[in-house]
Amino acid sequence: MNTTIKLPVEPWARRLVILEISLPIVLLVLGIYAGLLQVLFRAGVIGAAEFGGWEYYQSLTLHGVVNAVVFTTFFAVAFGNALIPYALGMRLPLRWAWISGITMVAGTLMAAWAILAGKASVLYTFYPPLMAHPLFYIGAALLIVGSWIAFFNWIPLYVRWRRENPGSKTPLAVVGMFATFIVWLIATVAVAIEVVVMLIPWSLGWTQEVNVPLARMLFWFFGHPLVYFWLLPAYTMYYTMLPRLSGGKLYSDKVGRLVFMMFILFSIPVGAHHQFAEPAISSGAKLLHSFLTFAVALPSLLTAFTIAASLEYGARQRGAKGLFDWIVKQPYFSTESWLFSYLIAGLLIFIVGGISGIINASYSMNLLVHNTSWIPGHFHLTVAGPVLLAFLGMSLHLLATFTGKELRFKGLAVAVPYLWLLGVFIFSWGMMRGGLHGEPRRTNLGMSYLNPDSPLYQPEWKLYVTVTMIGGMIMTLAMVAYFLVFFATALRSQRVEPAADFPLAEAYHDEPLGALSNLRPWVITAIVLIIIAYVPMVRDVVRGTFSNAAGYEPHNPVPVQQLED
């Protein structure tokens, strides 16, 4: 690989980035362990309500919150803190960056305490009227607010760069990260309303009841764009770094920008496709959201082409001939460009993940798969595919460059994504096939449907849960190898001067941008689409709700307020 530009980074900026990737990796050790417990519980190997002091639904809550929310949010903020100043050639303003980081850490510790103490076994969707400890909701709110502060800290930086560089194109890496956080900001407003206005006062006992359909609508207003908040940092790496790692250039800079703008447009007005099976939302609104969900598949289809074209260009530069040679001639196992293996393995997983997502979004096919194990089977091919692998790879890259250390066990580091790919394909095959045969998600199967002594015993699912368990074990093994590489590298002594160093690619087609040079019209159109998609839904939800609901702790069928009386 030809040399990249290294830029020095202030010590306190480096320390912040290292903190923001290390804390979630440490928590991920617990999250992965909880994931392993899941497959063992579900396969009936642990035929009990708890194991080692962790109750099934408690460990499932931990698994979801840590892996899908804490790890991803911290990573996106750390990646932005590192990449945006680098791409702009500027310094990160430290004060607010640290305030953001500390807010997020405080929130995470509060929520983690509530979960580990068994006071918040409400899963990561925390659907009311199941009620968690107030610190769970307050912690979640702080994590979100902290991530907003990080974003607000980058905006003046960019504004200053724009003023100092009139006429220059905004670096694509910055466009990608800004798209990520614009989607995040709009989406999290809804969940902040749900949490701060509805759930926190209710969990503190200040209010007695909540409007459940309204809370669910607000949650899914946030819940699906959350997926793109996960995905877009990975896309940023695919567009700006993967072509370079393959030895070539990005095929089209303009398509990259178009893709990010489309995500701003279509990421948010799609929430009802998680609510097809629900009351209080009319089928017209559901159909509209289904249609818009297809629109959000469009940028991913374009990405498939552009990235493949970039990889082909890279391989041809290195002498690939014929039709298929370029597929073979990629640095799959290069210990020099080890980051490539994380990105390419994630992309391969995403082919299946993306297609299964189109099935979920399909208004009528959703009836077959809704809330079955098909759904986690699908999203482990997305969030635990391209997202996880890109984030893991980049975390290693940030750790190495920002501490000036050489990666340890490079061969093992390259093996991790392929081992994970193998594991997650086996895991998801089991989950998805089981789901098509009615196997429910988020259910302690070992205590019921997979227990031969239970009247609910369903022997047909034995095969699927067993395959899922084997896949889950391979995934765990891959993560053990990853933790070994990560912590062994962290404990190494410094070799070179720490610096920001990203393998950013040039563009092969670098055309004038026109409407793509300005974010504003895209954001405004996105807000118009949201209004069109959500105004009828708000009306439905208000008309379709005949009463509010009291709160319940997960272990007690008596409402919380009656327990206190």
């Binding site: 199941l130 303009k254 099976a277 009351p279 559901k286 289904s290 009615g438 302690n444």
Partner: protein
């Protein structure tokens, strides 16, 4: 953008339009539709279901309430071929209502009523699974639908 890119974009858009068209055809032409209920009606006050609404065509109405951790009624008995209007709600938290081996896949939400029209052509006992997490004993929450001429006659 070069020609190939424009071609790819056109194909991608066309593909998605075809997919969406297929859904509209399924929903309108074949009646594969999702539940919908925007209503201010307060049901579940009239006693034990199912109720026969009419003989010709054979129509029933079922009101079912989900609660931690059972369905009420736990067993629904209907004759094969009957058109059944199913009204669901929850007395406490959110539950699921999935009839194994069918497309009947619904949520029960406190404060709202889920409506779906269902029909069973074959006799048998179908299991209802709660497939939304509803607390500590969620995995034990199940019910059943018995589709049988004989059982319906015995009940009457």
């Amino acid at each position: 953008m070069d020609r190939i890119e424009q071609l790819v974009m056109t194909i991608a858009v066309a593909l998605l339009v075809v997919f969406f068209g297929a859904i509209v055809v399924a929903a309108t032409g074949y009646g594969v539709d999702v539940p919908t209920c925007v209503t201010d009606r307060k049901p579940f006050t009239e006693g034990a279901p199912p109720f026969k609404v009419s003989d010709k065509p054979l129509r029933y109405e079922v009101h079912s309430v989900a609660r931690m951790w059972m369905f009420d009624p736990p067993e629904i008995t209907i004759p094969p071929g009957a058109e059944v209007d199913l009204y669901l709600s929850s007395a406490d938290v959110v539950h699921g209502f999935h009839v194994e081996g069918t497309n009947i896949n619904l949520m029960t939400v406190p404060g709202a009523v889920t409506y779906a029209r269902i029909k069973f052509d074959r006799e048998g006992i179908y299991r209802i699974l709660c497939h939304e997490y509803c607390g500590t004993a969620h995995h034990l929450m199940a019910g059943s639908i018995q589709v049988s001429h004989l059982a319906v006659e015995e009940q009457q």
